[in-house]
C-alpha cells in the first residue's frame, strides 16, 4: 500500500493520535509505560473490543445494533442464576449464553431483514424488551458468581508489576478470547465471501442482490453472530468481574458505536475495518482510563470521551464534506 493511500485512511490518524496520547501521558506522568498500567488498559479494553467486532459488522452491512448490552446481560444473568452450580466447567455456561444470544439476535435479524424495519428502532425496542424480561420476570439483582466461572475469572495470562510502586495487575484469559474474536472477525470480513457480501450489501443492496448475494441470509447471519457474541461477552464480563451484576453493561452500546465510528466505520454502511474498530475502542478506553495519570479527576472522563467522539467523528465528516465540495475544473491558462 502506498504512503499516499495510507494517509487517506482514518485508521492511520487514529493510530497517530493514539500513539501521541500515550507519549503525552508518559511525558506528563512517567507512569504510562509501566507493566501494570499497560495490563490495566488491556483489561479495560477486553469487553468493549469484543462488542466492537460484532457492532462493526452490523454497521458495515448498513444497520445498527443497540441491543447487544441487553442481550449480553440477559443471557449472562440467565445462565449464572438459573444454572448456578450445575456444571464444574465454564464451557456449558458460555454455550448456553451464546445460544440464548443467538436466538435474541435472530429475532432482531428476522424483523430487520424480512420486514425492512429500521435496525435502530427494532434493536432499541428489543433492548428495552430484554432488559424488562431480566428485571421483571427474572427479578434481577446482584448475585454471587457460580464457581466454574469464578475460577475462570482467576485465571490469568500474565501479571504486570510496577517495579517502583509495587502495584501489580493481572491480565485475565478473557483478553485472549478477545484477541481470538478480533481475528475471527477479521477473517470473516476479509477472507470469506460472506464477509465481502456484508460490505457489498452495505455498499449497494440492490447491486449485491443482483450479484447473487443472499441479502436476507447475510443480514440474519450478522444479527445472529452479534447476538451469540453478546451472550459470550456477557459471561466473560461476569467472570472477569467475579460477580453477577445485571446492570453494569447497560448503556455501553453508545460508547461502542461511537468507538467504531471514530475508527472509520461508516454509519451508513459499506465502510470500516476491524483494525479501525479496535483502534477506535483503544483510543476511547485509553482516554477514559489515563486522565487520572494526567492529574485530571476521573469525574471528567465522560466529558473527555464525549469530546473525543464529537471531534473525532466531526473531523472525518468535515473532510468528507470538503472532498465532495471541492471544485476540479482544470482551468487552462489561455
Amino acid at each position: 500500500m502506498s504512503i499516499k493511500r495510507l494517509t487517506k485512511k482514518t485508521e492511520f490518524y487514529v493510530a497517530i493520535i493514539l500513539i501521541a496520547f500515550c507519549l503525552l501521558v508518559q511525558v506528563r506522568s512517567g507512569q504510562f509505560f509501566t507493566p501494570n498500567n499497560i495490563v490495566d488498559l488491556l483489561r479495560s479494553l477486553t469487553i468493549p473490543m469484543m462488542f466492537a467486532v460484532g457492532e462493526m459488522m452490523v454497521l458495515i452491512s448498513g444497520g445498527v445494533d443497540c441491543s447487544f448490552p441487553a442481550i449480553a446481560s440477559l443471557s449472562m444473568y440467565f445462565v449464572t442464576t438459573k444454572m448456578d452450580g450445575m456444571f464444574s466447567s465454564p464451557i456449558p455456561y458460555f454455550l448456553v449464553a451464546m445460544l440464548l444470544g443467538l436466538c435474541m439476535g435472530a429475532v432482531n435479524g428476522f424483523i430487520v431483514a424480512k420486514y425492512r424495519f429500521p435496525a435502530m428502532i427494532v434493536t432499541l425496542g428489543a433492548s428495552s424488551l430484554w432488559i424488562g424480561v431480566m428485571q421483571g420476570i427474572l427479578g434481577s439483582s446482584e448475585y454471587p458468581l457460580t464457581s466454574a466461572l469464578y475460577r475462570l475469572g482467576e485465571a490469568k495470562i500474565l501479571t504486570g508489576t510496577n517495579a517502583q510502586t509495587g502495584f501489580s495487575s493481572n491480565l485475565p484469559v478473557h483478553f485472549g478470547f478477545a484477541v481470538v474474536l478480533v481475528l475471527i472477525g477479521w477473517f470473516i470480513l476479509n477472507k470469506t465471501m460472506l464477509g465481502r457480501g456484508i460490505y457489498a450489501i452495505g455498499g449497494d443492496e440492490v447491486a449485491a442482490a443482483r450479484a447473487g448475494f443472499n441479502v436476507f441470509g447475510t443480514r440474519m447471519f450478522i444479527f445472529c453472530f452479534s447476538g451469540a457474541m453478546a451472550g459470550f461477552i456477557g459471561v466473560c464480563r461476569a467472570s472477569m468481574m467475579m460477580t453477577v451484576n445485571p446492570n453494569n453493561m447497560i448503556g455501553m452500546e453508545m460508547d461502542v458505536i461511537a468507538a467504531c465510528v471514530l475508527g472509520g466505520v461508516s454509519l451508513v454502511g459499506g465502510k470500516g475495518s476491524v483494525l479501525g474498530a479496535v483502534l477506535g475502542t483503544a483510543l476511547m478506553t485509553l482516554v477514559a482510563n489515563s486522565l487520572i495519570l494526567l492529574g485530571i479527576p476521573t469525574v471528567w472522563s465522560r466529558v473527555f470521551t464525549g469530546l473525543i467522539i464529537i471531534i473525532g467523528t466531526g473531523v472525518s465528516a468535515v473532510q468528507e464534506k470538503q472532498r465532495k465540495n471541492t471544485l476540479h475544473v482544470a482551468v487552462s491558462e489561455e
Partner: protein
C-alpha cells in the same frame, strides 16, 4: 445455430390491470447493435426484465440463440449469454476496482473464500477484454460515471456474454466519453457480441445502432434499419404525435434592458475571467463539456460559491451574494442538473415541492396558510400541464418530465428576473421535453432572461438565440444560433 441471438414473439406481461407489454416482438441478430427506444412507461424496462429472466411473461415465447425457453430463469439467461448493465450500473462504490470486477464472478462460481491472486487474475482478464487501463486499487466511488460504466461492461464480458443490454448508458456521460464507449461497443460487435441499447438520447444512438425497435404503451410501433428512420419519424413514433420543431426567435425589442451582466468573474478551480451579459427575453445557451466549468459558473451566479474576483450586475446594480438565499431574493432561479438529489424532495408531497420557495409568503401569522398554498399549487399544475395524481402524493410518483416541470413551477412561483436551467431535459421524455421547451420560450416572451446550460447541441440550437462556448474554464466563443449548424457548434465545444 440461429442468426438471431434473441427472438421475442408476442410477449404479453400484465401487472394487475396495467398492460406493460401487450404482445411485443423483438428480434436481435448476432453482432448487431440494436436500439430499443420509447418513452417512460412504454415497456422498455419490462422487456429487459423478461429477457433477463426476472419476469415471467404471461404469454409469448422467448428464443435465445435458437433455443426456446418456456420459463426463462435469471440463471438460464446468464448461461445463455445475456448480461444486463443497469442504469445504476450495479457497482459497489465502497469496494476497489479489483473487487468490483471479481466479486460477482467469484460469487457465481460459489467460492467461499477470498484469494487475492485469483481476484487479480479475474480483474486483469476483465480489463483486457476492452483494453481498459485503470488502477485496480482505486475505490469505485472515486471514479467518473464513464469509468464505472466500463467496469460494469468488462465485468459483464467475463460471463462469455453474447448479448449485452445497456439501459440508458449515455445519460450521465460526456460526449467525449460517449465516443469512447462507442469504440468499445464496435470492438464487441467485431467479436460477434450483440448490444441492445435502451435509450432516448437520439443523435448518438443514430450513430451506433444498426437497427431500431420503438415501443409505445406496450406495443411495437416501429422496427427497421436505422437508415430508414429520420428525426421527425422517430419523434412521431415515440410520442404518437407530430411535434413541430420551431427554433426560438428572439424579438429584439427596443430598449430591452440588460438584466444580468457578469464581468471578469473568476473562481479558483472553477473558471477564469468570464464575462457575458443577457437581456430581457433572451434565451442564452452555455455549452461545453462536463468539467468545462459551466456548472460552477452557474452556481457562482446563484450564490453557491463566492467568486474570487470579478463583478455581477443585476439590472445595472452590482450585487454580492453570500449565499443562495441572497440570490433568490434578488430574483435568480437555478434548476440544477441532478434534480432528484438537488432540486426536489423526493419523499415529500408534490404540493410541498412546488410551494416550498413561497412558504414565507403563504402565512397567517405564524401558521401556514394551506388554502393559499393549494391555490398556488393548483395554478402551477394547470399552467405547466403537469400530470399528477394527487398533489399530496410524493414526488417519487412522477415521471422525469413531470418532476422537472415541478422544479420549474417551484421557481416560477417566485418573481424571477433570471432563470438558469442546467441540463433541463436530461432523463426527460421527448413529449415532456417539448413541453419544457415551449414553456421556456413562453417565459422568455414574457421578458424573463433564461440561461440554458446543456451539452445537447440540438437543444441549444433549438431554444437559444445566442450561445456561449465554454472550454477549460474559459468562455472561448460566442455565436448567434441563427444559421449555426450542429456540426460547427459541436466541434467548437469539444477541445481540439
Amino acid at each position: 445455430m440461429s442468426e438471431n441471438i434473441i427472438k421475442v414473439t408476442q410477449v404479453k406481461k400484465y401487472f394487475g390491470g396495467v398492460k406493460a407489454l401487450d404482445g411485443v416482438d423483438l428480434v436481435i441478430k448476432k453482432g448487431e447493435v440494436h436500439c430499443l427506444a420509447g418513452e417512460n412507461g412504454c415497456g422498455k424496462s419490462t422487456i429487459i426484465n423478461v429477457i433477463s429472466g426476472f419476469y415471467t411473461p404471461d404469454s409469448g415465447t422467448i428464443e435465445i440463440d435458437g433455443k426456446e425457453y418456456s420459463k426463462l430463469t435469471t440463471q438460464q439467461a446468464i448461461e445463455a449469454g445475456v448480461q444486463v448493465i443497469y442504469q445504476d450500473l450495479s457497482v459497489f462504490p465502497n469496494l476497489t476496482v479489483r473487487e468490483n470486477l471479481a466479486i460477482t464472478m467469484e460469487k457465481s462460481s460459489e467460492r467461499k473464500f477470498i484469494s487475492r491472486k485469483r481476484y487479480d487474475e479475474i480483474a486483469k482478464q476483465a480489463l483486457s477484454t476492452i483494453d481498459f487501463q485503470i488502477d485496480l486499487d482505486e475505490y469505485v466511488e472515486n471514479l467518473t460515471v464513464a469509468d464505472k460504466q466500463l467496469i460494469a461492461i468488462s465485468r459483464a464480458l467475463l460471463y462469455d456474454a453474447k448479448l449485452i443490454i445497456m439501459d440508458e448508458p449515455t445519460t450521465a456521460i460526456t460526449q467525449k466519453e460517449v465516443k469512447n464507449l462507442f469504440e468499445v461497443i464496435r470492438r464487441l460487435q467485431k467479436k460477434g457480441i450483440s448490444v441492445l441499447f435502451v435509450s432516448h438520447k437520439l443523435d448518438e444512438v443514430f450513430e451506433i445502432a444498426d437497427h431500431f425497435t420503438i415501443f409505445r404503451s406496450g406495443h411495437n410501433v416501429y422496427s427497421g434499419p436505422t437508415k430508414e428512420l429520420t428525426q421527425a419519424l422517430f419523434t412521431h413514433y415515440m410520442t404518437g404525435r407530430d411535434i413541430e420543431e420551431e427554433p426560438f426567435e428572439y424579438n429584439e425589442k427596443d430598449g430591452a434592458k440588460t438584466v444580468l451582466e457578469v464581468k471578469n468573474l473568476s473562481l479558483k478551480d472553477g473558471f477564469k475571467d468570464c464575462s457575458f451579459s443577457i437581456r430581457e427575453g433572451e434565451i442564452l445557451g452555455i455549452t461545453g463539456l462536463l468539467g468545462s466549468g459551466r456548472t460552477e459558473l452557474a452556481e457562482t451566479i446563484f450564490g453557491v460559491h463566492k467568486a474570487d474576483s470579478g463583478q455581477i450586475f443585476l439590472n445595472g446594480q452590482e450585487v454580492h451574494f453570500n449565499n443562495v438565499r441572497d440570490a433568490m431574493a434578488a430574483g435568480i432561479g437555478y434548476v440544477p442538473p441532478e434534480r432528484n438529489v438537488m432540486g426536489l424532495f423526493m419523499d415529500q408531497s408534490i404540493s410541498d415541492n412546488i410551494s416550498v420557495t413561497r412558504w414565507d409568503d403563504c402565512r397567517k401569522g405564524i401558521m401556514m396558510d394551506q388554502s393559499e398554498i393549494d391555490t398556488l399549487v393548483d395554478h402551477w399544475v394547470g399552467e405547466l400541464s403537469i400530470k399528477i395524481g394527487n398533489a399530496s402524493d410524493t414526488m417519487r410518483t412522477l415521471s422525469g418530465g413531470n418532476a422537472q416541470k415541478c422544479v420549474l413551477a417551484k421557481w416560477l412561483a417566485l418573481d424571477l428576473k433570471v432563470l438558469i436551467l442546467n441540463g433541463p431535459t436530461v432523463g426527460v421524455d421527448i413529449g415532456a421535453k417539448y413541453d419544457i421547451y415551449n414553456l421556456t420560450k413562453k417565459l422568455a416572451d414574457r421578458g424573463l432572461a433564461v440561461i440554458i446550460i446543456s451539452d445537447d447541441i440540438r437543444e441549444v440550437l433549438l431554444n437559444c438565440n445566442r450561445v456561449l462556448i465554454m472550454r477549460r474554464g474559459h468562455l472561448v466563443d460566442e455565436k448567434q444560433t441563427k444559421g449555426l449548424d450542429e456540426e460547427t457548434l459541436s466541434r467548437l465545444s469539444v477541445e481540439y
